[in-house]
């Protein structure tokens, strides 16, 4: 078909979509590193404050949670919180910015496939999430000792979470019409869900009814699966966590590709 045809023409320098993908990723990484004061510093400060206030000051009075010292218990959730916010924010604001500045048109008039555009943005979001995740992890080492229980779970849950929230951020960016629209979801949805998602407590502490309600919160699965990777404890079954995260990622991916194909928010 068309694309195959096109690729044939371009074989002298490999698959054009691969070059295009690298170009988008490079641009995305350059963007968030160029504005590092806005992208890297705030999570480092916020998380350090969490470590000091909840971990050191309040945590000392709480004692143990789930068999661990409170500081050690909350660190995995806080790392995931950074991964979630940063992947989401990176893609939603970058895509909205490209729409707002109209330079998204540079991609739309080029022969790149929609999936390449999407994967490029998602990779940018994952890159920032991993970057910030590592910074926060290093900072946490000043406050607690981290032994990794299962490296495979740590890596896979980090990537899966970053991909999922990059996709959700992308969908947000597609629908956003003003800059405010990019911050509404993080403020009114992501932050509350993160607090209720078991970052600071085990849902075993909740009454049965609320423990049931909490299971509707996808962030609960992220936090617990990651905590399992680090500490080896989880409030919920790991199989469930992976199943839910993978299905949500697939659904978000399909929606995002559809939106791009229809030109939602970018074509008239």
């Amino acid at each position: 078909m068309s694309l195959a045809n096109y690729e044939e023409k371009a074989t002298d320098f490999g698959n054009p979509n691969w070059v295009a993908y690298q170009t988008i990723v490079r641009t995305e990484v350059r963007r968030f590193t160029r504005i590092w004061v806005q992208t890297m510093i705030p999570p480092a400060i916020t998380m350090t404050l969490y470590f000091i206030i909840f971990g050191s000051l309040i945590g000392r009075r709480i004692g143990e949670m789930g068999g661990f010292d409170y500081m050690a218990y909350i660190v995995p959730g806080l790392i995931m919180m950074s991964v979630i916010t940063n992947s989401y924010a990176n893609v939603s604001s970058s895509f909205f910015g490209a729409k707002f500045g109209k330079f998204i048109e540079e991609m739309l008039v080029s022969p790149i496939s929609n999936q390449t555009i999407l994967l490029g943005y998602v990779t940018g979001g994952v890159a920032r999430a991993v970057f910030v995740g590592i910074i926060v992890t290093i900072l946490s080492l000043f406050f607690t000792h981290l032994a990794i229980h299962n490296i495979l779970a740590v890596v896979s849950i980090t990537l899966l979470t970053a991909v999922l929230f990059s996709l959700l951020g992308f969908i947000n960016g597609v629908y956003a019409k003003r800059f405010d629209d990019v911050s509404i979801v993080p403020t009114f949805v992501l932050t509350p869900l993160t607090y209720l998602g078991g970052v600071f407590f085990s849902i075993d502490l909740l009454p049965d009814f609320w423990a049931g309600v909490a299971q509707l919160n996808p962030i609960l699965y992220v936090v617990n699966a990651f905590r399992f990777g680090i500490l080896g404890v989880s409030d919920i079954s790991l199989g469930w966590a992976y199943g839910i995260l993978i299905s949500m990622t697939v659904v978000a991916y399909v929606i995002a590709v559809r939106l791009l194909a229809n030109g939602a928010g970018v074509r008239s």
Binding site: M1, S2, L3, N5, Y6, K9, A10, F13, G14, N15, P16, N17, W18, V19, A20, Q22, T23, I24, R26, T27, A98, G101, K102, F103, E105, E106, M107, L108, V109, S110, P111, I112, G263, V266, R267, S268
Partner: protein, 306 residues
């Protein structure tokens, strides 16, 4: 034969119900230098938007260099370069990076793109600004950056949407020379413009679009030849206070020292001068009024000549 651009019954109704294109047909031959003329809101940018997939068409078909934009979009886009009416690059990005990125989006790796980019930056007078963010460029430079960007993937068809709007005369001449040069090298060029002298100076063929319909389509020369009337502006030796009546000719007196005479094709200037002599009006010099293409344009788009 296959055309550089082939548009069939193209229609566009925007979401708000406005019918911007009412079924246009247009063909542009390979190698042509073609003008799409029309007043504001005629549908020029809508047409171009559809060609480069920024606007979804409602119906009809479009082929770029023989490739259908629905079924062969990769090849169609590969062969098309577009200079949009508005600046649509990242204002914070360095001038050179904008071109490297666009090359990348077209699948051209940096190493391959770099010499080409250097060529266009130098040719278009942007080389010294390559490391400056694009927002620091002047308006004319930004326009030239758009042109360089449209050329990095070496399209066979280059479309420019009002490329010289807001560009001063001197720079406009430079841009004309550049466009003529790449047209001579084989690139088909289509431009939309408000400067009608531009179409006359550059373009071999012209279409006139108005209210989403093509109302004229022919060679620039034929269109000009079909022009019925020429208005001559005569400077008078002495002031007169009333318009002289010349049988069969329309006259006007914008001021006491200037007489305008409309001369239809087939009519004779000798007749005019004989009549003026009879009225004792003495003409010291004479020129044609405005651009002929502009008159043509006005007469065709005024509505009653449809």
């Amino acid at each position: 034969m296959s055309y550089a651009l082939e548009i069939n019954s193209l229609k566009k109704t925007y979401d708000n119900g406005f019918e911007a294109l009412k079924g246009i047909d247009l063909t542009v031959e390979k190698g042509d230098f073609f003008a799409l003329l029309g007043p504001n809101g005629a549908g020029k940018s809508t047409t171009i938007g559809i060609l480069c997939s920024l606007v979804n068409k409602s119906s009809g078909s479009v082929k770029v260099m023989g490739y259908d934009i629905d079924h062969d979009f990769g090849m169609a886009k590969r062969h098309l370069g577009v200079v949009p009416q508005e600046f649509n690059f990242n204002q914070f990005e360095k001038t050179q990076n904008i071109l490297i990125n666009t090359a990348g989006y077209h699948g051209i790796p940096r190493a391959e793109a770099t010499p080409r980019i250097e060529h266009y930056l130098k040719r278009l007078g942007l080389w010294d600004k390559r490391d400056n963010p694009s927002r620091a460029l002047s308006g004319g430079m930004k326009r030239r950056l758009l042109i360089a960007r449209a050329l990095v993937h070496q399209p066979d068809l280059l479309i420019l949407d009002e490329p010289t709007a807001g560009v001063d005369i001197e720079l406009r001449r430079g841009m004309w020379d550049f466009l003529t040069e790449i047209n001579n090298q084989g690139t088909t060029i289509i431009l939309t413009t408000h400067y009608l002298e531009e179409a006359e100076a550059l373009c071999r063929n012209v279409s006139i679009i108005n209210h989403g319909e093509i109302i004229a389509n022919s060679s620039t020369r034929d269109l000009l030849a079909s022009l019925h009337t020429v208005t001559f502006v005569c400077d008078l030796a002495a002031p007169i206070d009333s318009v002289p009546v010349i049988e069969g000719y329309e006259c006007a007196l914008p001021d006491a020292m200037t007489l305008e005479v409309e001369v239809d094709k087939g009519q004779s200037l000798n007749e005019v001068f004989a009549a003026l002599s009879a009225h004792q009006v003495s003409v010291t010099s004479m020129r044609t009024k405005t651009n002929r293409l502009e008159e043509l344009f006005v007469s065709m788009t005024s509505g009653d000549s449809k």
